[in-house]
Each structure stands twice: as structure tokens, then as C-alpha cells.
């Protein structure tokens, strides 16, 4: 996933890129495979998993709540503004905003924030373990690094992402409700009635499925780039950046694929 030597010949550059990408995809798949095997082969390490869950959930809660509140306020105000211009009234805004929040905003913003905080942290941690030979030391002591490091992070991040996205969705809806009540003239009761008409139970399920998938992607990317970290401090920095970039891109693409798939169920 990186082109180190930019060749003058575009074909050889493309060839190089394809070979490097193919190798990366193959070793990423191997990591996913090994993680699945270890996930089901042994009971997870409880202490480490809880520590990671604490790191994922508790540490990110306030940042996420803060950010999604503003995202939600912007969403409802903008929707109202544009609806008023186009169809001269914004009566659909409460329902419209609720659907948008549940289907997209809550889980995607949560996942992207988690990527930049938790994903980066995990990649830096594992990357520096790699360059200081701690991963090799684990192997020498007969410990499987995937079981020891990846599995607890995977479980913690998946659970954490689902819980946080449920909280984020609630915070978003609450913020939208207050703004609608205070600035747009829709009482809380009206908002709830609109929500009941627009929002299905399956929206909440789908939002959780999305969060679940995003929660899987983040630690896998971090661990992958951490394990493949090159030596030196710049190696760790690079691994961290790459894990954030690739996880963010993966989340956006995955969001599209999942939304597209879910659209068959509406």
C-alpha cells in the first residue's frame, strides 16, 4: 500500500504498486485469518480485554458526545434551512434528521473519531512493541502475538464501538430535539411523533451492525500496520498515520456498502 521508489516508467510504477498492494492484501488477510482462528480457539484474556475496553470506551466517550452533538445540530439546522428554500417549509425536518442521524451520522462519526484516537493509539503501541523487539520476545516465550494482542483489542473495540455508537445516536437525537424545540418551533412531542413515523426499529439494528463492522476494522488495521512497522521512530509514526488513513477510508467504503445493502430492506 505504498510506493517507495517512484519509477520513471508509468507501467513499471503501476506494476510495482500492484505487486505491493497484492502483498499487503495477502498479509492483511493472513492476519484476519489468524485472528479468527485465535478468537475461537481460546477464551480471550479477560484482564487485557477489559483494560482495552476501558481505553476504547471510557476515554473516548466525552470527545464523541461533544463532537456528535455539534454534528447533529449542524445537520438539523442545515436541513431546515435548505428545505425552507426548496419547498418553502421544513415540516419534514424532525423525521428527516432522525433518519439521517441513525442511518449515517451516529455510527460513522463515532467510528471516525475512534479511528483517530483508539486506532492511532493501538497502531503506535503495537508498532513500538515491534521495533523494540517485544513482539519477538513474546514469540520466544511461546506466546502467540495475535492471541495476546489482537484478540483483546478486537473484542474491546467491537463492543466499545457498538456501545459508543448507541450512546452517540441518543445524544444526537437529544441534541436535534432540543434544537428543533428551541430554534425551529417543533415541540419535543411533535419531534417524537415524526420520529415514530420515519424511523423503524430496523434503523437502530442497522446502525448497530454498522458500528459492529467499524469496530472490527479499526483494530485490525492498527494491528496490521503496527506489526509491519519499520524500525525507528519514523517507522512508528508512519505506521500510525497509515493505520488512521486506511481505517478511515475503509470505514467510508464499508459505510457505503452496508448502506447500499440495507437499502434493499427498507
Amino acid at each position: 500500500m505504498s510506493i517507495k521508489t517512484v519509477s520513471a516508467n508509468p507501467f513499471s510504477a503501476l506494476g510495482h504498486f500492484l505487486i505491493v498492494s497484492f502483498k499487503d492484501i495477502r498479509s492483511f488477510s493472513q492476519l484476519v485469518g489468524a485472528t479468527l482462528v485465535q478468537l475461537f480457539a481460546h477464551l480471550p484474556r479477560k484482564k487485557e480485554t477489559f483494560q482495552q475496553l476501558y481505553f476504547v470506551a471510557n476515554g473516548s466517550l466525552w470527545t464523541i458526545a461533544f463532537c456528535v452533538t455539534f454534528a447533529s445540530i449542524v445537520t438539523i439546522l442545515e436541513s431546515s434551512f435548505h428545505m425552507k428554500i426548496v419547498i418553502q417549509n421544513d415540516s419534514m425536518v424532525p423525521g428527516f434528521a432522525s433518519v439521517l442521524i441513525l442511518r449515517e451520522l451516529g455510527s460513522v462519526v463515532t467510528a471516525l473519531l475512534l479511528t483517530s484516537r483508539v486506532g492511532a493509539g493501538m497502531a503506535a503501541e503495537i508498532g513500538s512493541m515491534k521495533v523494540t523487539e517485544q513482539i519477538d520476545a513474546l514469540k520466544m516465550l511461546g506466546i502467540n502475538p495475535v492471541r495476546f494482542l489482537v484478540v483483546p483489542r478486537l473484542i474491546a473495540s467491537t463492543i466499545g464501538c457498538v456501545i459508543l455508537s448507541i450512546i452517540a445516536n441518543m445524544v444526537c437525537i437529544l441534541a436535534a430535539m432540543i434544537v428543533a424545540d428551541q430554534f425551529l418551533g417543533y415541540s419535543i412531542g411533535l419531534f417524537l411523533t415524526a420520529m415514530r413515523r420515519f424511523v423503524d426499529f430496523q434503523d437502530i439494528i442497522f446502525a448497530s451492525i454498522k458500528a459492529f463492522c467499524f469496530g472490527i476494522v479499526i483494530p485490525l488495521m492498527s494491528c496490521y500496520f503496527g506489526f509491519n512497522c519499520k524500525s525507528g521512530a519514523d517507522g512508528v509514526g508512519r505506521a500510525t498515520t497509515q493505520s488512521v488513513v486506511f481505517a478511515s477510508v475503509a470505514i467510508i467504503v464499508l459505510d457505503f456498502i452496508l448502506s447500499y445493502t440495507f437499502s434493499y430492506f427498507y
Partner: protein, 244 residues
């Protein structure tokens, strides 16, 4: 005991080990000397499967381990302890837990015996009163000694040391060297010691192997090495003589 046959290892287009042929006998202390970046660490890591050679063979105790899987390497790694160039201690565990880690994994010992062994291992490297500390709270030299203790406590038959004394004070360096010597004499441990320190090598090695740019340029007993005409060896010797 350990044998390398035409071992070749490259990273991308750079060939680091260019056909290493070496036989290390049981109980021997072999020092591997060479300038920075010649592939000493790579050689040690290939031995225990932390890196895979491109071609050639590695034999340990009459077993060809070259194409072993991670699973098959487990008993090999139990037999061969490695002390890394970095201290490589686990940051999240206390010093005590770091050293007890392998004991807990490999042997089912009562806690009292674990404690005894940990303290014994620490005293071998001249450390005390650090059990409850975290790796981040002790100095680099102390971390390196803990890392030695963590490997030695498992009493492996083969010990691979990657620059065990780099960054240590002369007093501790001496005690680490006599530790290596004692392990070899008393427990018949085989040791491969990567080092820059010709002075120590001359003192305790049974055999010294000099690597340059991925190849063995000279090997022999300390006496034989003193008579070597290879320029790199003479440079290393000059360094050691200055110190004498």
C-alpha cells in the same frame, strides 16, 4: 548443535546474509563480531524462526528447522533462549511479572518457587529491589539486565545473546561475561554472543567468528584470531589492545 548451511537472507533487493556456513558445538561459547549492519541480529533471528531465510538450512540438535511452522518452533524456542538487542521488556508488566512470564507459561510451578527463581535470576545480574517497578521506571542498563534475567531464568540449553553488554557499565559487563561463562561451564549451555567487544570476546570465547557484509571473513580461537591478517579483524584487535 547449531549448524548453518549456505544461509542466505535478503530484504528486498539487499542481500544481508550471503551464504553463512557455521557449526556451533554443544557447550561452546561463540562470539560473533562485526560492524554495525552486517546482519548479526538477522543471523540470530533466523536461528529461532523470527525471520525466515531465503535459502540454505539451519539445523538445531540434528533437526532441520529451516521450514518449521510457528507451531513447530515452540519447542525449539523453549530450548533456545534469546536476549534481544533491545531490552524488549513488556511495558505493562512489573519486573517481577516480566521475569515470571516465561516460567508461568512453560512450567507449572508453585508461586513460592517462581518467586525464588526470579530473585535468583535477578541476583545473577546484580539487581535487587526492582521487583515491583515497571520497565519504564528503571534505567536502560537495568532493563537490559532484567531482560537477561528473563531469558536465563528459563534455563535454556542454548542461549543467543544480541549485544548483552552494550550500554552496560564495566562492572556489570564483567559480571554478565562471567554469567555467560558460568552457564556454559556448569550447565553446559551453548552460547552465541553477538558483540562489538573484542576485549570480552578474547577473554571468554571458545571461538570467535567475524562477519563482514554478510559473510564470515575469519573464525578461530582467540589465539588464532590474534594472528589473523584480515584487515577488519586487525582493526577490532587494535581497538581491544588500546584498552588493554
Amino acid at each position: 548443535m547449531i549448524q548453518y548451511k549456505k544461509l542466505i537472507k535478503s530484504f528486498g533487493t539487499r542481500t544481508i546474509l550471503k551464504g553463512i556456513d557455521l557449526h556451533i558445538k554443544a557447550g561452546e561459547i561463540v562470539f560473533i563480531l562485526g560492524t554495525s549492519g552486517t546482519g548479526k541480529s538477522v543471523l540470530l533471528k533466523n536461528t529461532v524462526g523470527l525471520m525466515k531465510p531465503d535459502s540454505g538450512e539451519i539445523w538445531i540438535d540434528d533437526e532441520n528447522v529451516t521450514d518449521f511452522t510457528e507451531q513447530e518452533f515452540l519447542p525449539v524456542r523453549k530450548k533456545c533462549g534469546m536476549v534481544f538487542q533491545h531490552p524488549a521488556l513488556f511495558d505493562s508488566l512489573s519486573i517481577y511479572e516480566n521475569i515470571a512470564f516465561g516460567l508461568r507459561k512453560h512450567f507449572s510451578l508453585p508461586e513460592s518457587e517462581i518467586k525464588e527463581r526470579v530473585e535468583q535470576a535477578l541476583s545473577l545480574v546484580n539487581l535487587e529491589n526492582v521487583l515491583a517497578k515497571r520497565p519504564g521506571e528503571i534505567s536502560y542498563g537495568m532493563q537490559k539486565r532484567v531482560s537477561l534475567a528473563r531469558t536465563v531464568v528459563l534455563r535454556p540449553k542454548v542461549l543467543l545473546f544480541d549485544e548483552p553488554t552494550t550500554g552496560l557499565d564495566p562492572v556489570t559487563t564483567n559480571s554478565v561475561n562471567s554469567l555467560i561463562q558460568n552457564l556454559s561451564r556448569k550447565l553446559n549451555t551453548t552460547s552465541m554472543v553477538v558483540s562489538h567487544d573484542m576485549h570480552c570476546a578474547l577473554k571468554i570465547a571458545d571461538r570467535i567468528v567475524v562477519l563482514d557484509q554478510g559473510q564470515i571473513v575469519e573464525q578461530g580461537t582467540p589465539q588464532e584470531l590474534l594472528r589473523s591478517q584480515v584487515p577488519l579483524v586487525r582493526d577490532f584487535l587494535a581497538e581491544a589492545r588500546d584498552l588493554l
